[in-house]
Assembly symmetry: C2
Homo-oligomer: 334 residues x 2
């Protein structure tokens, strides 16, 4: 019989197929397929992007020229625009607002073909360092209530350009899913005076069966209430609500763990599309929300979301996280 | 500038690209691609499915033999199983339950290649009539709190078999997304003593620009807060919380409207994958929830859900619903 599991933070249920679990070979993977054309993110094509906001580059090289290791630019087709004041209005029973926000792109590296596992550790660190720097800067804009950092890798994950990149979106309101997660964590904190994520770390460390990797500062595990097969969370062991407040010494540990995780997943499945999302506390509210703990959620694209999931928010998980963690632990990437 | 819109029921925000909206030709559509093999849903292969629960068939023909127009069978690989008592338990901070429920399949017609637009009106009615009959029966099982009816058409929509079919899942708890919708509707009712869906019908009928089709009993429109481009809702004009309490005379009106809608969408995009989901009130609770109104949500698969949507529940909608409704209205299917 399958198993129903309830997310203690947001209250979401999932159905885990513990009886006839899918093994890696049971998945149909869509491999990346791209349109041809000149890549605006490639080395030497700097003039084809909007102007550089910040970059990690060789001393003495000018902005928007070669000499860089990673660049941040505005999204050429932004979902939200930085200029203007937030203007909320009603339309009968509907509420709306103009699309104020920021939408930036981190070009991970100069290399068109290199995904995270192919980069040097230092190059992966660049991605997270620049994410931190840009978050801190966007936080200073009081119009913004949330900064979301995420990566779409491959067409099935929603990427529209092949050259690996990471995105930041600053939003003028706290999105619903984030609010639910914050509220769930806050309610738990009110009840027990403990951070639920710290309790998750404690329980996972004790049970061990869902852990994939551990280093001095981070834990990577397949969450008990995974929504997707081979979903993996990376969480700092020390309580901290904001990604961008991560101590400098933790950045290399995060980068090397994320690199190793994606290497493991790609060793199992070959090339595949994936998303990761950094969940961090909302900004410019009334102080830090109690009991919230930043983390990164990694989701390989192995299944299609179908009518049932859209209608219910109930996810069907064909590989139990315990089994996924076992496959991931056993995959040797060194 | 894009426009942010807030769902008055669930509180979800979407970002609508009103500036540079996508037109139909701008979408990359995945057309269905299937594995080969004998189809268990085809006429003559009745022995290859689990036993028939109910069917619409010629008088005098035996169950599980030819002579049928539509059949309902148990799902061969059910997400949930009907036998046993619900058994909830805790595991440290996690909650879980065994996978009690029902998972049935309606084989829409004997024809492997016929999607809804290719069927006779009477054949489309069969699908909705059988959905009603099965819902009513499953409601009698007091262990179940929700019955979800949905359709996955095509591989990109999550269908695992090519032969068109519709699914019913009975769940032992009200799923999170449904609960949110119910609570949102209830809060509105508490505040205004009116059904929010009835108010939506009123406003849409007045504004007209998002309406696609209307007949005596139903309205079809692209919702103001669409999450997906070319999303369409079909809603009964007369207030009614339960799909399966639909008056008999409304079934043909629903069937012909859904057939016309899908015909329009397929005329615009050619073959494409889609989901539809019937949203109905929970069952076996403390009476009917106040201010809830059943409806069908139709979602063509034109975009990929990416990291941003997964992380925030905030959707990026490249075609405003007003424009989608215009394209749909102008498409002539007669």
């Amino acid at each position: 019989m399958s198993e129903l599991r309830r997310d203690p933070i947001g209250g979401r249920w999932v159905i885990v197929d513990t009886d006839h679990p899918n093994r890696p070979k049971d998945y149909d993977i869509e491999s990346p397929a791209w349109r041809e054309g000149v890549c605006p993110f490639c080395y030497g094509n700097e003039s084809q992007t909007p102007p550089e906001i910040i970059a990690i580059r060789e001393p003495g090289t000018a902005a928007n020229t070669p000499g860089w290791q990673a660049r941040v630019v505005s999204n050429k087709y932004p979902a939200l625009q930085i200029e203007g004041d937030l203007d909320r209005s009603g339309l009968g029973i509907y509420d709306m607002s103009n699309g104020i926000g920021a939408h930036e792109v981190i070009i991970d590296s100069p290399y068109h073909q290199k995904d995270i596992p192919d980069l040097l550790d230092q190059e992966v660190e660049n991605i997270f360092s620049l994410s931190c720097v840009r978050s801190l800067d966007l936080m200073r804009d009081k119009r913004f209530k949330y900064v979301m950092i995420f990566k779409n890798y491959g067409p099935a994950a929603g990427a529209s350009l092949a050259h690996p990149h990471t995105q930041l979106i600053a939003l003028p309101m706290v999105p619903k899913s984030v609010k639910e997660e914050i509220n769930g964590a806050h309610n738990y904190f009110e009840y027990r005076d403990r951070c639920i994520f710290c309790d998750v770390i404690r329980q996972e460390t004790q049970e061990k069966e869902r852990i994939v990797l551990e280093n001095k500062y981070f834990l990577a595990f397949c969450p008990f209430v995974s929504r997707f097969p081979f979903e993996i969370w990376v969480i700092p062991k020390k309580h901290n609500g904001y990604f961008c407040h991560m101590p400098q010494e933790e950045v290399p540990a995060l980068a090397s763990m994320v690199k190793e995780l994606i290497s493991k997943v790609k060793k199992i499945f070959g090339s595949l599309c994936y998303n990761f999302i950094i969940h961090s506390a909302p900004i410019n509210g009334d102080g830090e929300p109690e009991g919230y703990h930043w983390h990164l959620e990694f989701m390989p694209k192995l299944t299609k979301v179908a009518g049932f999931e859209w209608g219910t928010g109930f996810y069907l998980v064909p590989t139990p996280p315990e089994l996924a963690a076992k496959f991931l632990r056993e995959e040797n990437t060194s």
